[in-house]
């Protein structure tokens, strides 16, 4: 009874605000778009003229009818994967450094990692617009270096590169935190034991620290990969016209072209894709940990 009192409200909250809307999304993805946006009614109104009513898989057919949508999906996955990898490569040494630093400094260092959250997300992205802009010192610097090698100047802003930089910048803390939480718990005597039994620094990392940090790597990767996949603000601001990702596409269906069924279908496809990636990585993680060494 007490369990229901404590667990009930959040359960109801999730049912009302997550499960129900999800069902609505599934349903709307199988409907026709309304004449002026939104959804067409399920049944023809009284005295209604022709038009499309009822249920249909047209939205899904449309998705596969043009290769561009699949391409955007693949590109989004590519960006998400690249962001995750870059975040991992950048976050791992940082998390390790924090985890191995003196206890009294650790909380301060973690605070510094999350400090950017204290300022508005959009402001931070706009700041990158200035940093990557053609007149910025950074751009001049990069182009000066490229010039030395005889490479023509490049525009950093409004490019896939800018999108990637923004994505990595925004999501880095989401990789650092779970990694740190994991690494901080490692028993230092395991590294002593490995060294004692003949493992070099490199072997101690690959055979002890790395496999033990796999759960942290997987949760950090999920925390980066999934939001990046749906992110539209960063490509909107930092990307060029050709740098549209799934997030932008979905947003456009609801706010721009007002084709709700197609937007819903895209969302459902994205959810399914994320779920299968998550399922796959869980499976890989489990077997990696079973055979890990």
């Amino acid at each position: 009874m007490a369990k229901m009192l404590v667990g009930g409200p959040p359960l109801v909250f999730l049912l009302v605000f997550f499960a129900a809307p999800s069902m609505i999304m599934v349903l709307s993805s199988f409907r026709f778009p309304g004449e002026f946006g939104g959804l067409a009614p399920l049944a023809a109104p009284e005295g209604g003229t022709g038009g499309d009513y009822g249920l249909t898989a047209e939205a899904y057919q449309f998705f596969f009818s043009d290769v561009i949508y699949v391409e955007i999906f693949l590109k989004s996955f590519g960006i998400a994967m690249a962001t995750t990898l870059i975040c991992l490569v950048m976050a791992y040494p940082l998390a390790l450094l924090i985890a191995r630093s003196e206890k009294r400094f650790r909380n301060l260092l973690v605070l510094l990692v999350v400090l950017p959250f204290a300022s508005n997300f959009l402001i931070r992205i706009y700041a990158w617009m200035i940093i990557l802009g053609p007149e910025s010192g950074f751009s001049h610097f990069v182009n000066a270096i490229l010039g030395v090698f005889g490479i023509a100047p490049v525009t950093l802003l409004f490019s896939p590169f800018a999108v990637l930089v923004g994505m990595v910048y925004v999501h880095l803390p989401f990789m650092v935190l779970p990694l740190y939480t994991n690494l901080e718990k490692h028993d230092p005597s395991l590294l002593d034991a490995a060294q004692d039994l003949g493992a070099t620094t490199w072997q101690r990392f690959w055979r002890v620290t790395w496999p033990l940090s796999l759960p942290g790597i997987f949760s950090g990767s999920a925390l980066v990969f999934i939001p990046v996949l749906g992110m539209f603000a960063v490509p909107d601001i930092l990307g060029g016209t050709g740098d549209i990702l799934i997030g932008n596409l979905i947003k456009d269906q609801f706010l721009g072209t007002r084709d709700w069924p197609f937007g819903s279908a895209l969302s459902i496809m994205l959810t399914l894709a994320v779920l299968s990636v998550a399922g796959l990585s869980t499976w890989v993680a489990r077997s990696a940990m079973r055979h890990g060494q």
Binding site: D192, A193, L197, A199, R207, V208
Partner: protein, 361 residues
């Protein structure tokens, strides 16, 4: 040549001297124990032998070779850690194979040696288990097997039995003795449990405040402690202030404050007039009814102050007429009878002429 030679080794942490001019030599095949209270420097010494810490001065030689420039991973020395430090993500077999893999042994040889090592610790059916699926005693045995599998010149054991309950501890002690006998690897064992040290070791170095107080066989450590610290730390002992009245090679005549003349074991280094303490083990003291005819040289009357019933034996704390307390151990040999004396009983205590030992302050 000794297998391990520790020469004048000193280690300081800031202003604190953890190990102070220690000299120890360990012979090949020996079961050598570093015994002392926590903070006596025994673990620091062990870490220096393993290579995790470097001495500030002095030398550590293994097979005559100075180990200073050799990092832990390059030393033919393995350690069994207090917490076992088994790799949680590796199976038992993978844990044991680890040192062999690091030594780049061919895989068929690894398989063979791991199987043998599992047999040695009676865990043949547990190779595929993960450490968290094992009991404390099993984990302990895996740690032993992992430390021994690559036949190190020296196996260091850092209070390995500390986490086990009393019953299992005793079992593991016997297992450890057999294991050492079978594999013939030299053991350096660290413990603060004196009974464990006495039961396991060929020789013991008793350490206190960073220094070695005495290195000897267990029986010598117990029966002829060199000083008050060793006497007090190893086993139970009653200690009373005494002055030497007469020093003969065969015996000493002591004046024990408030008790009178006591005859004690002869001790070469003691001279007439020396002041110190007379120490006597509880099991050397006989406790009897005051009326009993006593044929022993040292006998005194007293009253049972308190007693500790321990099942197999009962320790009686007897307060002698002058207020000095002495402990006497009595085996509970009469079936069905828990104790022979009650608190407050008038008793006589007596001991052989050579049972007491005199220790200079």
């Amino acid at each position: 040549m000794a297998l391990l030679e520790i020469r004048e080794v000193t280690k300081r942490f800031g202003s604190y001297t953890a190990v102070d001019h220690v000299n120890i030599s360990v012979q090949a095949g020996e079961f050598f124990t570093l015994l002392g209270p926590s903070g006596c420097g025994k673990t620091t010494l062990l870490r220096m032998i393993a290579g995790f810490d470097l001495p500030d001065s002095g030398q550590i030689l293994l097979d005559g070779k100075d180990m200073v420039g050799t990092p832990p991973e390059k030393r033919p020395v393995h350690t069994v850690f207090q917490t076992y430090a088994l790799f949680p993500h590796m199976t038992v077999a993978e844990n044991i194979a680890f040192p062999l893999k690091m030594a780049r042994k061919p895989s068929h040889e690894i398989k063979l040696q791991v199987g043998e090592a599992l047999d040695n610790v009676r865990l043949s059916d547990f190779g595929h288990r993960l450490p968290h699926e094992l009991s404390g005693g099993q984990k302990q045995r895996v740690a032993f097997a992992r430390g021994l599998v690559n036949r190190p010149r020296l196996l260091l054991l850092d209070e390995p039995l500390g986490a086990l309950d009393a019953k299992l501890r005793e079992e593991m002690q016997i297992e450890l003795i057999n294991l050492q006998k079978n594999v013939g690897v030299t053991f350096v064992f660290v413990t603060h449990a004196q009974n464990e040290a006495l039961a396991l070791s060929h020789r013991i170095a008793v350490m206190n405040k960073g220094s070695v107080e005495q290195i000897d066989e267990p029986s010598k450590i117990y029966s002829s402690p060199r000083n008050r610290f060793v006497a007090d730390f190893i086993g139970k002992i009653s200690i009373m202030n005494a002055t030497v009245l007469e020093a003969a090679p065969s015996h000493l005549k002591l004046d024990v404050a408030g008790l009178g003349h006591v005859t004690a074991a002869g001790n070469q280094g003691v001279r007439t007039g020396d002041r110190g303490v007379m120490a006597i083990r509880p099991e050397q003291v006989r406790i009897s009814h005051p009326s009993t005819d006593l044929e022993l040289k040292n006998h005194f009357h007293g009253k049972v102050h308190d007693f500790l019933y321990m099942g197999d034996v009962t320790t009686y704390i007897v307060e002698l007429s002058n207020g000095i307390r002495i402990e006497a151990l009595l085996p509970n040999s009469a079936p069905g009878r828990a104790k022979f004396f009650e608190a407050g009983d008038e008793v006589a205590v007596s001991w052989r002429h050579d049972a007491g030992i005199f220790l200079n302050e």
